[in-house]
């Protein structure tokens, strides 16, 4: 058996690979549900009911998809340029810190100015958090994977310090949490009496804008060229370093928006458990979305279904909730296999 490079790749093939990876992952999940002593069919039924079975379930899935679209975009934008930003978790918290700093009374504006202002500061905070790692990689050849990963731990400790110390809400009865975001800064609900907020729409619009930028602008083309071959891009006169810096700012900014919308849309205040690893899950979302901004929207909804549904399933049939994390991780590996089969065909030697 050997691999032979395909001469041409039909444009639909990568999407088939991604869909196949999703199905393969669900098959693997079925084995794990069976291993936990439950029936996979009942398990999947409970999962779907948990994610779609009621108005509440559907809005909950949308609410969970919101930060995943943002962190998925953060990873997709960076990975497309082969910039390995694994620091979305930290950048998410940087965005949450920024909205907490400005949105808890420091500045008061009417909502139509306050909300955009908070989103912008979160975006800037996320981007600036990633910037040093971009510069270290471009100018000192310091591997960005490790620096972005390590920065996650530093920022979460910083959040812990602020929430237990100077930023602690005195009315929170001992829980380490930040002061409440002022009413003018809170995102309105999309569906009344639910947790689905305007952040979902903002996330979808962001994905569409990024898709247009990637497919219609010189900057979008430059990013793709840098990802395919950095030295060829440099020879073709593309400002490689400038492009990577912009991509880094945009990627970090998207992760910052995830933290902002979770804080001003969902929770209303900053906590230490604001993100159960949305930054890392964003990598799976990006892979499953084929690093395409529109693909990211659908991948984020798929992963949100898994998260919300698996939670309901584990309550119903007693399968550990960690199953959701296993499924998310399996998608990453399954997509990788799929993408290899896109680039190469398997030839049986005979």
């Amino acid at each position: 058996m050997r691999f032979e490079a395909r001469e041409t790749i039909p444009h639909w093939l990568p999407w088939m690979a991604v869909a196949g990876a999703g199905i393969g992952t669900l098959c693997f999940a079925a084995i794990l549900i069976a291993a936990a002593g439950a029936s996979p069919l009942v398990g999947f039924r409970e999962l779907l009911i948990g994610a779609f079975g009621s108005r509440n379930a559907i809005t909950e899935t949308g609410a969970t998809a919101t930060p995943l679209i943002f962190t998925g975009l953060a990873a997709a934008i960076a990975f497309r340029a082969k910039f390995w930003n694994i620091g979305a978790e930290g950048q998410l918290y940087a965005g949450a810190l920024a909205v907490t700093y400005f949105g808890t009374g420091l500045i008061e504006l009417p909502p139509f100015l306050m909300i955009p202002f908070l989103l912008i500061v979160a975006c800037v905070a996320g981007g600036l958090t990633l910037l040093p790692m971009v510069l270290l990689r471009q100018f000192m050849r310091v591997d960005e994977v490790v620096t972005t990963l390590l920065t996650n731990f530093v920022i979460i400790l910083l959040v812990s310090y602020l929430l237990e110390g100077p930023w602690k809400d005195p009315y929170s009865l001992g829980w380490p949490q930040g002061a409440a975001i002022i009413d003018a800064g809170a995102l309105p609900q999309l569906v009344p009496r639910s947790r689905l907020h305007l952040g979902f729409a903002i996330a979808v619009v962001s994905a569409i804008i990024i898709w247009l930028v990637q497919s219609r602008t010189v900057f979008g083309f430059a990013g793709k060229a840098v990802g395919l071959n950095q030295s060829a891009a440099r020879h073709a006169g593309i400002p490689v370093t400038k492009t990577i810096i912009c991509i880094g700012l945009l990627s970090g900014g998207m992760a910052g928006l995830a933290g902002a919308t979770e804080t001003i849309g969902l929770k209303g205040y900053l906590t230490l458990d604001l993100s159960p690893g949305f930054g890392y899950t964003g990598i799976a979302v990006a892979m499953l979305g084929n690093l395409h901004p529109i693909g990211v929207i659908f991948a984020a909804i798929f992963i949100a279904i898994i998260y919300v549904g698996a939670d309901a399933m584990s309550r119903a049939i007693d399968v550990p909730t960690y199953l959701a994390d296993v499924i998310v991780a399996t998608t990453v590996l399954a997509v990788l296999i799929g993408l290899v089969l896109v680039r190469y065909r398997v030839v049986m030697r005979g």
Partner: protein, 316 residues
Amino acid sequence: MIFDFLEVLVNAGFWAATIRIACPLLLATLGELVCERAGVLNLGIEGIMSIGAMVGWTAVYMGADLSTGILAAALVGAAFGLVHAGFTVYLGASQHVTGIGITLFASSMGYFAFRLLLPSSTTPPKIIAFQPLDIPIFSELPFLGEAFFQHTAFTYLAFLAVPFVLWLMNRTPFGLAVKVAGENPMALEAQGIDVLGVRTLAVIIGSALMALGGAYLTMSAFDAFYFGMVNGRGWIAVALVIFASWRPSKALLGALLFAGLDAYQVRAQQLAGAVIPYQFFLMLPYLLSIVAMVVAAKSTRYPKALLTPFRRGERH
């Protein structure tokens, strides 16, 4: 006040703690080093350490003896190494994304299996972990005895990994093949040696070492398995490999230096905790790793073929 900070250094407990903290880092760093020398970046390290910690502990909890626990951890590490090599060496998939995928997969599978085997309880179950094993005569020495010769068998084993890796890389034909696979795989192919096989074996051995690093946490440093207990040690090890410029002896130095600073940090926290919040002390290991990478970056010479998949019959 200054005197208090210096006094820590003449405390045998500080040196003993340094040795203990160094062990998981040392094993993980050596494991990553073997992988990278063969040209394969293994970012699965964090997850492999986590599942190694879980499997070693669980085996003992289920009634196996401690050495069987160590063996089980090494085997599961090797298995994940095989998966990583299958993706990156044979399929030529992105080493970055595969590694992150393996980390997510190994740690979540570990947690899933742990919950399946041991339903949630308020007090974490414990095992009888490795007990201190005094080295005859040496452990009687004043100061030195307490600092260096009253450790567990697993600790001595971790330090023996240094001569083992040195011997493997520098004294065996396999070690030579690993180094060539990481520098110039075409030359290895020209010798009629299977590049993919050499790389795969190196990743398997390296990953087994990483899993032992994780198992040290649950079987020697502590006696229970906690969620998220690896806590970035894997990523720190990846930074230490760069700091050590891919040399086992410098990896030992790096791990000890790092562990010393970490042990010092805990003691300084007790001395200055009222003035400086503890979170800033906890940040130090991560910040120091970044600093170590920046310092090493200038003089660093990466294995030439690191991150480059090799395909038979394709030119590079």
